[in-house]
Amino acid sequence: MELFQYPYMQRALIGALVIGLAAPALGIYLVQRRLTLIGDGIGHVALTGVGAGLLLNRSPVLVAVIVATVGAIAIEVVRARGRTSGDLALALLFYGGIAGGVLLVGLSDATSANLNAYLFGSLLSTSTSDLITVGVLGAAILITMIVLRPALFAISHDEEYARVSGLPVRTLNLLIAVTTAVTVTIAMRAVGVLLISALMVVPVATAQQITRGFRSTMTAAMALGFFAAGSGVWVAATADTPPGASVVLLAIASFLVVAVAGALWRAVRRRTAPAHVPVPEPHEVVLDRG
């Protein structure tokens, strides 16, 4: 525990906890809309922003926020049109994003260590100003996702009904897209571009195995994300493992534990309680084939 006396460890821990809480709060809407991998895609696009930032000697995170937001809006516009060719357009955007990022990083004076820091996260190098950015943006994401939960639930659950209810569906969709871009860029520091989706999606996948409602799923997913982030940083500090990977592996481990426990629980219940046999309606045809 004495490792957490060091300010850089404290910053790493606080940053990870904020992201662990905020990422699943947004992720639940992405999972419900079957956009589970969108975080990955936007992460690829954000990498171009990182490259541009390094090349232009500007803050890579700030440039990445801008580039990822533009990318997210472009993806949302393609999605809203519902064209089949949208799939291909997204693939182009994703691969263009990561190739552009690698190219721009290569053109700049940055080393491959810099690129690795963004690909896989570098929590321990979190500076105080980084932490303030993560804290402010993380709080903004959390407040938005919680205050707008009824409306965001409605559009994620049944977009047409939401439109007939007169909700500003297009604005809310853009809001989700922009929030995804912001979450991706702040989480980039912690777990890296390649592992961001895990923090948004895995806690939700774990929670929804045992919860009954949307609100309880959201609360449980946030708790799981918080727990995975905290214990991941602790494991990383004590066992000297990469923090990003530790956080994600812990999140996946809790998914497996809950999945196995849930399966056992259902098996026990099936054995103790009589199975519910649905009563079919009577046949309305004459079955005369002896």
Binding site: H157, Y161, V164, G166
Partner: protein, 253 residues
């Protein structure tokens, strides 16, 4: 003379240049219960989707509560019941959470739910006989109960006009009865109903007028027509599969 609630004048709708509705005119006045009947693919669902602004009109005009559809903003006056509840990504939601969505048209996006919202949700759940299932996940309900959840969601908004897309297709008898009862109560309180149906079943006594859509036009507007052929047999249970769902792709919702 009652006030018109829905006016469709010479409405035409096409998908990708293929006409679905050619020239449809229809007026629904306050207090009526109008059934839109027709074969699969006749365009009857398209008609109500056009009225709700979910598909664009190629020609003609639609007026809702004396307002052109384009300028219509009082969506809390309309309760929409879609054909079925989409599964989405599978995040669980309780019956109450789904029904509570029906209050958003009235409450707006930012205001948190209050006592009036909770009371309306409770009343809607009772009206469809699902009060005891309020905290169950909707995914564990039968098809008929899910349909009743969607009707409760529409009723929770306390609308003046209910628009329903095949509310009884493939729904068990108990749910059809519960639904007919909820509809009778709604109409008794002065509500107006426009519903698309394939078969009327227990709803038949509630319907005041029937409109039959055929080949993109309206071929009958008046009394409920009697079923003919094998449809007329007393035990005929008119349930058959509907068109394939839209492909559930990564980017579709």
């Amino acid at each position: 003379m009652s006030t018109p609630v829905i006016i469709v004048e010479h409405g035409a709708v096409g998908y990708d240049g293929r006409p679905v509705l050619r020239d449809v005119s229809l007026t629904v006045t306050a207090g009526e219960v109008v059934a839109v009947l027709g074969a699969n693919g006749s365009g009857k669902s398209t008609l109500i989707r056009a009225i709700l602004g979910l598909v664009p009109l190629g020609a003609g005009s639609i007026t809702l509560f004396d307002r052109p559809l384009r300028q219509f903003r009082q969506w809390q006056r309309i309760g929409y019941v879609p054909q079925r509840l989409g599964a989405g990504g599978g995040v669980p939601a309780t019956v109450r959470e789904v029904v509570a969505s029906g209050r958003l048209a009235r409450r707006g996006v930012l205001r948190p739910p209050g006592a009036a919202d909770r009371a309306a949700v409770d009343a809607a759940l009772r009206a469809v006989g699902l009060a005891d299932r309020a905290s169950d996940p909707v995914a564990t309900l039968s098809g008929g109960q899910q349909q009743r959840t969607l009707i409760a969601r529409a009723l929770a908004g306390q609308p003046e006009l209910l628009i329903l897309d095949e509310p009884t297709a493939g729904v068990d008898a108990a749910s059809q009865e519960a639904f007919a009862g909820a509809l009778r109560d709604f109409v008794a309180d002065g509500g107006t109903v426009l519903l698309v149906a394939h078969e009327l079943g227990p709803l038949r006594p509630v319907i005041s007028r029937a409109v039959v859509v055929h080949q993109g036009g309206i071929c009958h507007d008046g009394a409920v027509p009697d079923p003919a052929g094998h449809h007329a047999e007393p035990d005929h249970d008119h349930v058959h599969p509907h068109g394939p769902d839209e492909p559930a792709g990564l980017w579709s919702n």
